[in-house]
Protein backbone atom coordinates (compact mmCIF):
# COMPACT_ATOMS: atom_id res chain seq x y z
CA UNK A 1 0.00 0.00 0.00
CA UNK A 2 2.82 2.40 0.89
CA UNK A 3 4.34 1.87 -2.56
CA UNK A 4 1.02 2.81 -4.16
CA UNK A 5 0.83 5.90 -1.95
CA UNK A 6 4.36 6.87 -2.96
CA UNK A 7 3.55 6.43 -6.65
CA UNK A 8 0.51 8.71 -6.35
CA UNK A 9 2.48 11.26 -4.31
CA UNK A 10 5.13 11.33 -7.01
CA UNK A 11 2.48 11.79 -9.71
CA UNK A 12 0.15 14.30 -8.02
CA UNK A 13 2.08 15.68 -5.02
CA UNK A 14 4.09 18.24 -6.98
CA UNK A 15 6.89 17.86 -4.43
CA UNK A 16 10.12 19.82 -4.91
CA UNK A 17 12.15 16.73 -3.85
CA UNK A 18 12.18 13.11 -5.03
CA UNK A 19 9.66 10.93 -3.19
CA UNK A 20 12.39 8.31 -2.61
CA UNK A 21 14.25 10.80 -0.40
CA UNK A 22 11.28 11.15 1.98
CA UNK A 23 10.96 8.72 4.90
CA UNK A 24 7.63 7.10 5.72
CA UNK A 25 7.44 9.24 8.86
CA UNK A 26 8.78 12.52 7.43
CA UNK A 27 6.43 15.53 7.39
CA UNK A 28 5.14 15.94 3.83
CA UNK A 29 4.10 19.58 4.37
CA UNK A 30 7.62 20.43 5.52
CA UNK A 31 8.83 18.66 2.37
CA UNK A 32 6.76 21.10 0.32
CA UNK A 33 3.36 19.42 -0.13
CA UNK A 34 0.80 22.20 -0.76
CA UNK A 35 -2.80 21.94 0.38
CA UNK A 36 -3.89 21.96 -3.28
CA UNK A 37 -1.56 19.05 -4.06
CA UNK A 38 -2.71 17.14 -0.99
CA UNK A 39 -6.29 17.31 -2.27
CA UNK A 40 -5.17 16.10 -5.70
CA UNK A 41 -3.40 13.15 -4.04
CA UNK A 42 -6.52 12.51 -1.96
CA UNK A 43 -8.69 12.39 -5.12
CA UNK A 44 -6.18 10.04 -6.76
CA UNK A 45 -6.25 7.75 -3.71
CA UNK A 46 -10.06 7.71 -3.75
CA UNK A 47 -9.96 6.70 -7.41
CA UNK A 48 -7.19 4.12 -7.00
CA UNK A 49 -8.63 2.39 -3.92
CA UNK A 50 -12.32 3.01 -4.71
CA UNK A 51 -12.97 4.69 -1.38
CA UNK A 52 -14.22 8.02 -0.06
CA UNK A 53 -12.46 9.96 2.68
CA UNK A 54 -14.90 10.54 5.55
CA UNK A 55 -15.20 13.97 7.16
CA UNK A 56 -13.15 13.10 10.26
CA UNK A 57 -10.12 12.19 8.13
CA UNK A 58 -10.23 15.35 6.00
CA UNK A 59 -7.54 17.21 7.91
CA UNK A 60 -3.88 18.02 7.73
CA UNK A 61 -2.88 15.19 10.07
CA UNK A 62 -4.20 12.43 7.77
CA UNK A 63 -1.84 13.67 5.09
CA UNK A 64 1.16 14.65 7.20
CA UNK A 65 3.28 11.61 6.19
CA UNK A 66 3.26 8.44 4.05
CA UNK A 67 2.69 6.53 7.29
CA UNK A 68 -0.30 8.75 8.22
CA UNK A 69 -1.89 8.29 4.78
CA UNK A 70 -1.45 4.51 5.08
CA UNK A 71 -3.07 4.58 8.54
CA UNK A 72 -6.00 6.62 7.18
CA UNK A 73 -6.49 4.20 4.26
CA UNK A 74 -6.40 1.20 6.61
CA UNK A 75 -9.01 2.85 8.81
CA UNK A 76 -11.29 3.58 5.84
CA UNK A 77 -11.00 -0.02 4.55
CA UNK A 78 -11.78 -1.42 7.96
CA UNK A 79 -14.83 0.86 8.22
CA UNK A 80 -16.01 -0.22 4.78
CA UNK A 81 -15.49 -3.91 5.58
CA UNK A 82 -17.44 -3.61 8.84
Amino acid sequence: MKQAIRTLLAKHGNLPVAIESIDDNADLYDAGLSSFASVQVMLALEEEFDIEFPEHLLNRKSFSSVEAIAAALTEIREEQAA
Binding site: P16, D30, G32, V39, L43, F53, L58
Partner: protein, 393 residues
Protein backbone atom coordinates in the same frame (compact mmCIF):
# COMPACT_ATOMS: atom_id res chain seq x y z
CA UNK B 1 -5.40 50.74 43.50
CA UNK B 2 -3.05 51.62 40.63
CA UNK B 3 -4.26 53.55 37.59
CA UNK B 4 -3.89 50.40 35.49
CA UNK B 5 -5.94 48.24 37.85
CA UNK B 6 -8.64 50.92 38.07
CA UNK B 7 -8.98 50.69 34.28
CA UNK B 8 -8.98 46.88 34.12
CA UNK B 9 -11.66 46.67 36.81
CA UNK B 10 -14.12 47.98 34.20
CA UNK B 11 -15.71 45.87 31.46
CA UNK B 12 -13.93 45.38 28.13
CA UNK B 13 -16.84 46.82 26.14
CA UNK B 14 -16.91 49.99 28.21
CA UNK B 15 -13.16 50.47 27.80
CA UNK B 16 -13.39 49.80 24.06
CA UNK B 17 -16.22 52.33 23.67
CA UNK B 18 -14.15 55.02 25.37
CA UNK B 19 -11.15 54.32 23.13
CA UNK B 20 -13.47 54.27 20.10
CA UNK B 21 -14.78 57.72 21.06
CA UNK B 22 -11.27 59.12 20.74
CA UNK B 23 -10.53 57.15 17.56
CA UNK B 24 -13.73 58.49 15.95
CA UNK B 25 -12.70 62.06 16.69
CA UNK B 26 -9.51 61.66 14.65
CA UNK B 27 -10.77 59.22 11.98
CA UNK B 28 -11.21 61.81 9.21
CA UNK B 29 -7.84 63.41 9.92
CA UNK B 30 -6.06 60.02 9.89
CA UNK B 31 -7.76 59.29 6.57
CA UNK B 32 -7.00 62.64 4.91
CA UNK B 33 -3.39 62.74 6.10
CA UNK B 34 -2.79 59.01 5.54
CA UNK B 35 -1.07 58.73 8.89
CA UNK B 36 -0.90 56.22 11.74
CA UNK B 37 -3.97 56.49 14.03
CA UNK B 38 -1.84 57.34 17.06
CA UNK B 39 -4.67 58.93 19.09
CA UNK B 40 -6.86 55.83 18.79
CA UNK B 41 -3.97 53.45 19.48
CA UNK B 42 -2.82 55.52 22.48
CA UNK B 43 -6.38 55.38 23.80
CA UNK B 44 -6.42 51.57 23.45
CA UNK B 45 -3.16 51.43 25.42
CA UNK B 46 -4.53 53.78 28.08
CA UNK B 47 -7.52 51.42 28.41
CA UNK B 48 -5.02 48.52 28.80
CA UNK B 49 -6.56 46.66 25.85
CA UNK B 50 -3.37 45.49 24.07
CA UNK B 51 -2.67 42.34 26.12
CA UNK B 52 -6.15 41.22 27.21
CA UNK B 53 -6.02 38.02 25.09
CA UNK B 54 -2.99 36.81 27.03
CA UNK B 55 -3.47 34.33 29.88
CA UNK B 56 -3.76 35.87 33.36
CA UNK B 57 -0.58 34.07 34.54
CA UNK B 58 1.37 36.13 32.01
CA UNK B 59 -0.32 39.40 32.93
CA UNK B 60 -3.29 39.33 30.55
CA UNK B 61 -7.00 39.08 31.20
CA UNK B 62 -7.65 35.80 29.36
CA UNK B 63 -10.16 37.45 27.03
CA UNK B 64 -11.87 35.25 24.43
CA UNK B 65 -11.67 35.74 20.66
CA UNK B 66 -15.35 36.66 20.75
CA UNK B 67 -14.58 39.52 23.16
CA UNK B 68 -11.72 40.72 20.95
CA UNK B 69 -14.03 40.60 17.92
CA UNK B 70 -16.58 42.70 19.79
CA UNK B 71 -13.89 45.33 20.42
CA UNK B 72 -12.94 45.26 16.72
CA UNK B 73 -16.59 45.81 15.76
CA UNK B 74 -16.82 48.77 18.18
CA UNK B 75 -13.60 50.27 16.77
CA UNK B 76 -14.71 49.59 13.18
CA UNK B 77 -17.67 51.91 13.74
CA UNK B 78 -15.29 54.67 14.82
CA UNK B 79 -12.09 54.45 12.74
CA UNK B 80 -11.37 51.51 10.45
CA UNK B 81 -7.60 52.14 10.48
CA UNK B 82 -7.50 51.96 14.29
CA UNK B 83 -9.69 48.84 14.20
CA UNK B 84 -7.50 47.13 11.59
CA UNK B 85 -4.29 47.98 13.45
CA UNK B 86 -5.77 46.58 16.66
CA UNK B 87 -7.05 43.45 14.87
CA UNK B 88 -3.69 42.74 13.21
CA UNK B 89 -1.93 43.17 16.56
CA UNK B 90 -4.32 40.69 18.20
CA UNK B 91 -3.74 38.15 15.40
CA UNK B 92 -0.04 38.14 16.39
CA UNK B 93 -0.86 37.97 20.11
CA UNK B 94 -3.18 34.99 19.49
CA UNK B 95 -0.34 33.11 17.77
CA UNK B 96 2.05 33.92 20.61
CA UNK B 97 -0.29 32.99 23.41
CA UNK B 98 -1.28 29.63 21.94
CA UNK B 99 1.80 28.47 20.01
CA UNK B 100 4.72 29.37 22.24
CA UNK B 101 3.64 27.52 25.36
CA UNK B 102 6.55 26.50 27.55
CA UNK B 103 9.00 28.86 25.84
CA UNK B 104 10.45 31.04 28.60
CA UNK B 105 11.38 33.90 26.28
CA UNK B 106 7.93 34.11 24.72
CA UNK B 107 6.22 33.86 28.09
CA UNK B 108 8.22 36.75 29.48
CA UNK B 109 7.60 38.68 26.25
CA UNK B 110 3.85 38.25 26.79
CA UNK B 111 4.27 39.79 30.25
CA UNK B 112 6.01 42.73 28.61
CA UNK B 113 3.15 43.16 26.10
CA UNK B 114 0.76 43.50 29.04
CA UNK B 115 2.93 45.66 31.25
CA UNK B 116 4.17 48.03 28.55
CA UNK B 117 1.12 47.73 26.24
CA UNK B 118 3.37 46.85 23.29
CA UNK B 119 2.16 46.90 19.67
CA UNK B 120 3.12 43.86 17.55
CA UNK B 121 3.29 43.97 13.74
CA UNK B 122 3.75 41.15 11.27
CA UNK B 123 5.92 40.60 8.21
CA UNK B 124 4.64 37.72 6.07
CA UNK B 125 4.46 39.12 2.51
CA UNK B 126 7.72 38.98 0.59
CA UNK B 127 9.00 40.13 -2.80
CA UNK B 128 8.83 37.23 -5.26
CA UNK B 129 6.16 35.42 -3.20
CA UNK B 130 3.41 37.99 -2.97
CA UNK B 131 0.63 37.50 -0.46
CA UNK B 132 1.00 33.73 -0.06
CA UNK B 133 1.34 33.44 3.71
CA UNK B 134 2.56 29.84 3.52
CA UNK B 135 5.64 30.43 1.41
CA UNK B 136 8.93 32.15 2.18
CA UNK B 137 12.05 32.81 0.16
CA UNK B 138 14.12 34.27 3.00
CA UNK B 139 15.64 31.89 5.53
CA UNK B 140 16.63 32.44 9.12
CA UNK B 141 20.26 31.58 9.84
CA UNK B 142 21.10 30.31 13.28
CA UNK B 143 24.71 30.38 14.37
CA UNK B 144 25.28 29.25 17.93
CA UNK B 145 22.69 31.14 19.94
CA UNK B 146 22.19 33.94 17.44
CA UNK B 147 19.62 34.14 14.66
CA UNK B 148 19.97 36.47 11.66
CA UNK B 149 17.33 37.30 9.09
CA UNK B 150 16.98 39.63 6.12
CA UNK B 151 13.60 39.89 4.40
CA UNK B 152 12.41 41.95 1.45
CA UNK B 153 9.01 42.51 3.05
CA UNK B 154 6.59 44.06 0.57
CA UNK B 155 4.14 44.97 3.35
CA UNK B 156 4.63 45.53 7.06
CA UNK B 157 1.51 47.27 8.34
CA UNK B 158 2.38 49.98 10.91
CA UNK B 159 5.94 48.59 10.80
CA UNK B 160 7.53 51.92 11.70
CA UNK B 161 5.23 52.30 14.75
CA UNK B 162 5.48 48.77 16.13
CA UNK B 163 7.42 47.72 19.23
CA UNK B 164 8.10 44.26 17.80
CA UNK B 165 7.52 42.40 14.54
CA UNK B 166 6.72 38.72 14.03
CA UNK B 167 8.46 37.61 10.84
CA UNK B 168 8.03 34.41 8.81
CA UNK B 169 10.95 32.76 7.04
CA UNK B 170 12.17 29.34 5.96
CA UNK B 171 13.38 27.29 8.92
CA UNK B 172 16.96 27.27 7.56
CA UNK B 173 18.69 27.98 4.24
CA UNK B 174 18.18 24.34 3.10
CA UNK B 175 14.48 24.17 3.97
CA UNK B 176 11.62 24.03 1.42
CA UNK B 177 9.65 27.25 0.78
CA UNK B 178 6.76 25.98 2.89
CA UNK B 179 8.91 24.78 5.81
CA UNK B 180 8.55 27.99 7.79
CA UNK B 181 9.06 29.37 11.27
CA UNK B 182 7.91 32.65 12.84
CA UNK B 183 10.30 34.76 14.91
CA UNK B 184 9.59 37.72 17.19
CA UNK B 185 12.09 40.55 16.80
CA UNK B 186 12.14 43.55 19.15
CA UNK B 187 12.44 47.11 17.86
CA UNK B 188 16.07 47.48 18.92
CA UNK B 189 16.99 44.23 17.15
CA UNK B 190 16.05 45.26 13.60
CA UNK B 191 16.42 47.96 11.02
CA UNK B 192 13.78 48.93 8.46
CA UNK B 193 14.70 50.45 5.13
CA UNK B 194 11.54 51.72 3.48
CA UNK B 195 10.98 50.50 -0.09
CA UNK B 196 7.39 51.63 -0.77
CA UNK B 197 4.89 54.16 0.51
CA UNK B 198 1.27 53.59 1.51
CA UNK B 199 -0.85 56.06 -0.45
CA UNK B 200 -4.08 54.16 -0.95
CA UNK B 201 -7.80 54.43 -1.64
CA UNK B 202 -8.75 53.47 1.91
CA UNK B 203 -7.40 52.04 5.17
CA UNK B 204 -4.97 54.92 4.86
CA UNK B 205 -3.91 54.87 8.50
CA UNK B 206 -2.52 51.33 8.63
CA UNK B 207 0.65 52.64 6.94
CA UNK B 208 1.32 49.26 5.31
CA UNK B 209 4.64 50.20 3.80
CA UNK B 210 7.27 47.91 2.32
CA UNK B 211 10.67 47.52 3.97
CA UNK B 212 13.94 45.69 3.76
CA UNK B 213 13.91 44.11 7.21
CA UNK B 214 17.29 43.19 8.73
CA UNK B 215 17.55 41.65 12.17
CA UNK B 216 19.76 39.83 14.59
CA UNK B 217 18.45 38.34 17.85
CA UNK B 218 18.86 35.40 20.22
CA UNK B 219 17.64 32.19 18.55
CA UNK B 220 15.25 31.53 21.47
CA UNK B 221 12.96 34.16 19.94
CA UNK B 222 11.97 31.72 17.16
CA UNK B 223 8.51 30.32 17.95
CA UNK B 224 8.77 26.64 18.90
CA UNK B 225 5.82 25.42 16.79
CA UNK B 226 6.08 25.21 12.97
CA UNK B 227 4.49 28.20 11.23
CA UNK B 228 2.38 25.78 9.11
CA UNK B 229 0.53 24.81 12.28
CA UNK B 230 0.16 28.40 13.53
CA UNK B 231 -1.19 29.54 10.15
CA UNK B 232 -3.61 26.65 9.74
CA UNK B 233 -4.96 26.53 13.28
CA UNK B 234 -4.88 30.16 14.39
CA UNK B 235 -3.75 32.90 12.06
CA UNK B 236 -6.11 32.37 9.12
CA UNK B 237 -9.20 31.78 11.24
CA UNK B 238 -8.46 34.65 13.65
CA UNK B 239 -7.76 37.02 10.74
CA UNK B 240 -11.03 36.24 9.01
CA UNK B 241 -13.02 36.54 12.24
CA UNK B 242 -11.47 39.78 13.51
CA UNK B 243 -11.47 41.40 10.08
CA UNK B 244 -15.08 40.26 9.59
CA UNK B 245 -15.98 41.87 12.93
CA UNK B 246 -14.41 45.22 12.08
CA UNK B 247 -15.85 45.18 8.55
CA UNK B 248 -19.22 44.63 10.16
CA UNK B 249 -18.42 47.72 12.26
CA UNK B 250 -17.75 49.85 9.15
CA UNK B 251 -21.04 48.76 7.57
CA UNK B 252 -22.95 49.19 10.84
CA UNK B 253 -21.83 52.82 11.13
CA UNK B 254 -22.84 53.44 7.50
CA UNK B 255 -26.30 52.01 8.21
CA UNK B 256 -26.56 54.16 11.36
CA UNK B 257 -25.78 57.26 9.28
CA UNK B 258 -28.30 56.28 6.59
CA UNK B 259 -30.91 55.66 9.27
CA UNK B 260 -30.46 59.10 10.79
CA UNK B 261 -30.75 60.58 7.28
CA UNK B 262 -34.07 58.78 6.70
CA UNK B 263 -35.32 59.76 10.13
CA UNK B 264 -34.49 63.43 9.56
CA UNK B 265 -36.38 63.29 6.24
CA UNK B 266 -39.37 61.66 7.95
CA UNK B 267 -39.48 64.44 10.53
CA UNK B 268 -39.48 67.11 7.84
CA UNK B 269 -42.43 65.58 5.97
CA UNK B 270 -44.78 64.02 8.51
CA UNK B 271 -47.11 61.40 7.12
CA UNK B 272 -44.89 60.62 4.13
CA UNK B 273 -42.51 57.69 3.88
CA UNK B 274 -39.08 59.10 2.90
CA UNK B 275 -37.75 57.78 -0.44
CA UNK B 276 -34.80 55.95 1.13
CA UNK B 277 -36.83 54.09 3.75
CA UNK B 278 -37.26 50.82 1.85
CA UNK B 279 -33.61 50.72 0.91
CA UNK B 280 -32.73 51.24 4.57
CA UNK B 281 -34.82 48.18 5.41
CA UNK B 282 -32.84 46.22 2.80
CA UNK B 283 -29.54 47.47 4.20
CA UNK B 284 -30.64 46.48 7.70
CA UNK B 285 -31.39 42.95 6.51
CA UNK B 286 -28.01 42.65 4.80
CA UNK B 287 -26.25 43.98 7.90
CA UNK B 288 -27.93 41.28 9.95
CA UNK B 289 -26.61 38.66 7.50
CA UNK B 290 -23.07 39.96 7.98
CA UNK B 291 -23.47 39.95 11.75
CA UNK B 292 -24.89 36.41 11.76
CA UNK B 293 -22.02 35.23 9.57
CA UNK B 294 -19.36 36.62 11.92
CA UNK B 295 -21.13 35.46 15.08
CA UNK B 296 -21.58 31.91 13.71
CA UNK B 297 -17.87 31.85 12.79
CA UNK B 298 -16.89 33.00 16.29
CA UNK B 299 -19.09 30.31 17.82
CA UNK B 300 -17.48 27.61 15.68
CA UNK B 301 -13.99 28.90 16.55
CA UNK B 302 -14.83 28.87 20.27
CA UNK B 303 -16.08 25.28 20.01
CA UNK B 304 -12.94 24.10 18.19
CA UNK B 305 -10.40 26.10 20.22
CA UNK B 306 -7.66 23.96 21.71
CA UNK B 307 -8.74 20.93 19.63
CA UNK B 308 -6.02 20.51 17.00
CA UNK B 309 -8.05 17.98 14.97
CA UNK B 310 -11.10 20.24 14.80
CA UNK B 311 -9.01 23.30 13.85
CA UNK B 312 -7.22 21.26 11.15
CA UNK B 313 -10.43 19.93 9.63
CA UNK B 314 -11.21 21.04 6.11
CA UNK B 315 -14.79 21.84 7.08
CA UNK B 316 -13.45 24.39 9.60
CA UNK B 317 -11.26 26.07 6.95
CA UNK B 318 -14.18 26.17 4.52
CA UNK B 319 -16.36 27.81 7.18
CA UNK B 320 -13.74 30.45 8.06
CA UNK B 321 -13.10 31.19 4.37
CA UNK B 322 -16.83 31.66 3.91
CA UNK B 323 -16.93 34.18 6.78
CA UNK B 324 -14.29 36.23 4.95
CA UNK B 325 -15.88 36.01 1.50
CA UNK B 326 -19.42 36.72 2.72
CA UNK B 327 -18.58 39.70 4.92
CA UNK B 328 -16.11 41.35 2.54
CA UNK B 329 -18.56 41.22 -0.38
CA UNK B 330 -21.72 42.14 1.49
CA UNK B 331 -20.41 45.23 3.28
CA UNK B 332 -19.82 46.90 -0.09
CA UNK B 333 -23.44 46.29 -1.10
CA UNK B 334 -24.61 47.65 2.26
CA UNK B 335 -22.54 50.84 2.11
CA UNK B 336 -23.59 51.40 -1.49
CA UNK B 337 -27.23 51.16 -0.36
CA UNK B 338 -26.48 53.73 2.35
CA UNK B 339 -24.90 56.02 -0.24
CA UNK B 340 -28.05 55.82 -2.37
CA UNK B 341 -30.14 56.65 0.69
CA UNK B 342 -28.06 59.66 1.76
CA UNK B 343 -27.46 60.92 -1.79
CA UNK B 344 -25.17 63.91 -2.18
CA UNK B 345 -24.97 64.30 1.64
CA UNK B 346 -23.38 60.85 1.76
CA UNK B 347 -21.16 61.47 -1.23
CA UNK B 348 -19.80 64.74 0.16
CA UNK B 349 -17.10 64.79 2.81
CA UNK B 350 -17.68 66.65 6.06
CA UNK B 351 -21.43 66.08 6.52
CA UNK B 352 -22.96 63.98 9.34
CA UNK B 353 -23.92 61.49 6.60
CA UNK B 354 -20.57 61.28 4.76
CA UNK B 355 -19.83 57.75 3.58
CA UNK B 356 -16.78 58.20 1.37
CA UNK B 357 -14.34 56.96 4.00
CA UNK B 358 -16.53 53.96 4.82
CA UNK B 359 -16.81 52.98 1.17
CA UNK B 360 -13.08 53.40 0.51
CA UNK B 361 -12.06 51.53 3.67
CA UNK B 362 -14.51 48.73 2.87
CA UNK B 363 -12.98 48.21 -0.57
CA UNK B 364 -9.83 46.82 1.09
CA UNK B 365 -11.78 43.84 2.44
CA UNK B 366 -11.86 41.90 -0.84
CA UNK B 367 -8.14 42.41 -1.35
CA UNK B 368 -6.70 41.60 2.09
CA UNK B 369 -5.85 38.03 1.17
CA UNK B 370 -7.50 38.24 -2.22
CA UNK B 371 -11.00 36.80 -2.37
CA UNK B 372 -10.02 35.03 -5.59
CA UNK B 373 -7.21 33.24 -3.76
CA UNK B 374 -9.56 32.24 -0.93
CA UNK B 375 -12.28 31.05 -3.33
CA UNK B 376 -9.63 29.00 -5.16
CA UNK B 377 -8.56 27.47 -1.87
CA UNK B 378 -12.15 26.68 -0.86
CA UNK B 379 -12.94 25.22 -4.27
CA UNK B 380 -9.99 22.84 -3.90
CA UNK B 381 -11.25 21.66 -0.51
CA UNK B 382 -14.79 21.22 -1.84
CA UNK B 383 -13.48 18.60 -4.27
CA UNK B 384 -13.31 16.22 -1.33
CA UNK B 385 -15.03 17.93 1.60
CA UNK B 386 -18.79 17.49 1.75
CA UNK B 387 -20.70 20.73 2.38
CA UNK B 388 -22.10 20.89 5.91
CA UNK B 389 -25.85 20.95 5.29
CA UNK B 390 -26.95 20.99 8.93
CA UNK B 391 -28.53 24.15 10.30
CA UNK B 392 -26.93 24.11 13.73
CA UNK B 393 -23.53 22.61 12.84
Amino acid sequence: MTAASRVTAMGLTERARRAAGIAAEYADRVDVEGRFPSEGMDALKAERLMGILIRPEFGGEGATMTEIADICAILGQACASTAMTYAMHQIQVASLSDYALGSAWHESFQKRICEEQLLIASATSEAGIGGNLRNSLCAIEVEGETARLTKDATVISYGAEADAIMVTSRRNPDAAHSDQVATVFLKDQYTLERTSVWDTLGMRGTCSEGYIFKAEAPAVQILPRPFAEIAAQSMLAVSHLLWGALWYGIAADAVARAQSFVKAAARKSPGQMPPGALRLAEASSLLQLVKANVVAGLKQFAECKGDGDALNAMSFSVAMNNVKIGTSQTILTIINHCMLICGIAGYKNGTPFSLGRHLRDAHSAQLMISNDRILGNTSTMLLVNKQDTSLLG
